[in-house]
Chain length 423, copies 2
Amino acid sequence: MNDFVLHGAVLYCENSSSMKEYEDAYVVCENGLCAGVFEELPEKYSDFPVEDYWDKLIIPGLTDLHTHAPQYTFRGLFGDMELLEWLNSATFPEEMQYDDPEYAEAAYDLFTEDLYIGATTRAVIFATKHTDSTLMLMDMLEDTGLVTYVGKVNMDRNTPDGCRETTEESLRETVRWLDCVEERGYERTMPILTPRFTPACSDRLMRELGELSAARSLPVQSHLSENLEEIRLVSELCPDSRFYGDTYEKAGLFGSNAPCVMAHCVWSGTEEQDLMKKNGVYIAHCPQSNMRLSSGVAPVSLYLDKGIHVGLGTDCSAGAELSLFSAMRDAVLASNMRWRLSDQNVRKLSFAEVFYMATLGGGSFFGKAGSFLPGYEFDAVVLDDENVQTMHPATPAERAERLMYLLDDRNVVGKYVRGTKLY
Amino acid sequence: MNDFVLHGAVLYCENSSSMKEYEDAYVVCENGLCAGVFEELPEKYSDFPVEDYWDKLIIPGLTDLHTHAPQYTFRGLFGDMELLEWLNSATFPEEMQYDDPEYAEAAYDLFTEDLYIGATTRAVIFATKHTDSTLMLMDMLEDTGLVTYVGKVNMDRNTPDGCRETTEESLRETVRWLDCVEERGYERTMPILTPRFTPACSDRLMRELGELSAARSLPVQSHLSENLEEIRLVSELCPDSRFYGDTYEKAGLFGSNAPCVMAHCVWSGTEEQDLMKKNGVYIAHCPQSNMRLSSGVAPVSLYLDKGIHVGLGTDCSAGAELSLFSAMRDAVLASNMRWRLSDQNVRKLSFAEVFYMATLGGGSFFGKAGSFLPGYEFDAVVLDDENVQTMHPATPAERAERLMYLLDDRNVVGKYVRGTKLY
């Protein structure tokens, strides 16, 4: 049932600097895993059913390494603020609504539907502090067939009343949430510990979450070094920490106990970078968010050259779009501007690099995902770019590069996750 | 026949800083001109047929102040070069193809169709040096119902053989082109003199085009101060000019004889700005192009504050998208980055300002266009954003702001130009 072959044009990454492209090839799925890409179908797969996509473009499923499901409802608005004002005036008031199950169901339905129809096959997602609506979101995501990490958010300080929990409540609800998740036995929806960010989490909350992460081998997601005012605030709140990332490190929440993804890292200094490299922390680069909230532009090529794990995040709705093709576009444009306006020592990102980040770079947070290398979980997206009419033949890489600017949901005509066809 | 009323939600600009928005209003077209926007339909228009768009959003038609029809065929590609390399390796080889009428017809058909289905109602367009295919483009644009300025390009130096003309040939073909245009008697397709840019035009060619502009009251379009290497090249080629814009001024091609639009102006100094202000030169701000080719970001809010005319250009295909909603988005994001990374003395652009630039700012290059103020030519676009589902009601301005990120051609459901309904 999970043995089949896709036939068409193929593009994927083997590593952060090299793409493999085929005008006409066969991608083989054997028992839910990729068996490889072949210009002629090997004899041993000759019995597998072939789905013929002709000249459509087959790429690995994309991973959104950072997004906020409850913020989807106000995407595209409030783009004229910086981070802290935006949290207080747009985000926190909205997130309070998710105490209401009816509201949460209607809102999360919009989010999950949009995620389903796009080119994303895996995502790492913030919910809100509310255990029950977070579980509802996880139920809905499980039904989509996508593979996700979802976090009930923890925050016990410096946030408005309706958003904040006491430390005890936050920890107790986290355990209740984790127990419920275990009970529901999801196949592809996994919990991830989610301290919102250091300004909103007391030392004790952070420390106890770190212990929970170690005890239950739970991955962690949070925000890091996004905005200059935020960083000043952290240095005031945590005078004993050497840098922002050290506040997570001290609590055991920075990759030393379990996998960890940190969104943004726009202003990470050398020490923070070195610790991320050492601990294997993933960076979720969120270029549209960082441009919309005037946060800045992360030195992404530097991170890649250092061997730090980097993927892309839409950060909906500080970023307005849930499309990772748009995130690729914005990563290129932002890196060009950083190079031109601020620092020519950090080179611009190539299309190969942003395609890597959207596929294998972020996908590897889930293990073997995001490539058509043999042994990888079989996530694939089929793109029909027939509407992009031109006078010239284009290579598979050129076709994907063009879609950074021109893709909409009509171009996504097939989607496979872990060897199962969603549509 | 040109008397009618549109009913729906309405948004338009009166000037560069104020938007008028109505949840429910009537926009009246009388004899092809806008008679105003009314919350209740005045008695004197009660006999006019009403087209009811319910809660759809009605805005003035958008003006693309700078784009290149022959480059549409490679949109979205070659984004990793700077200007001069990009011209030589991507643009000039493509433009040579337009000597072949069959090629030109097929390629211009793709361009005009895309322009027709989007939210653009007016555009200022570069063709190529080829008189006959430029006339073919003008025929096709006339058929769309859009209002456009189109230019046969002049270039007699520093360009490859297949692109370059002799000075005599360039002038002779320009006159032949203008005579043919006059003969064809277009209603809405107008010629605009188009010296490509100073590096590609000899002093004599520029001077004689300036005389032609004065003699026949012909407007002018060109490029200005886009890229640092380009600016250095101009200062070498024209040692007697005080600044890049002065090379056009000396030739009578900088707004003193006739209306003039200059694309980019990323690096214009104070003297150049002052002369543009004095001469009423229009700036076509092309943010995606300027980010893709790593040119930089123009200080647009400074230009607006000085009272210089500024509109938006897609600059296809240095910019990959022909949508002015995308250009609005990119103008906001680019201005945020400029503010964050380079110069906090020049403030960020607001949504009101980018909406102004896409409507009235650029529209006024055509006279009274780009607003629903009384007496303006009736260009309107109807947007259906029902697919943008959220949990909250949004104002007309918020709905338009959201569409900067989310619009595609499906959202454009009605289009009127000079009081005529196109669809």
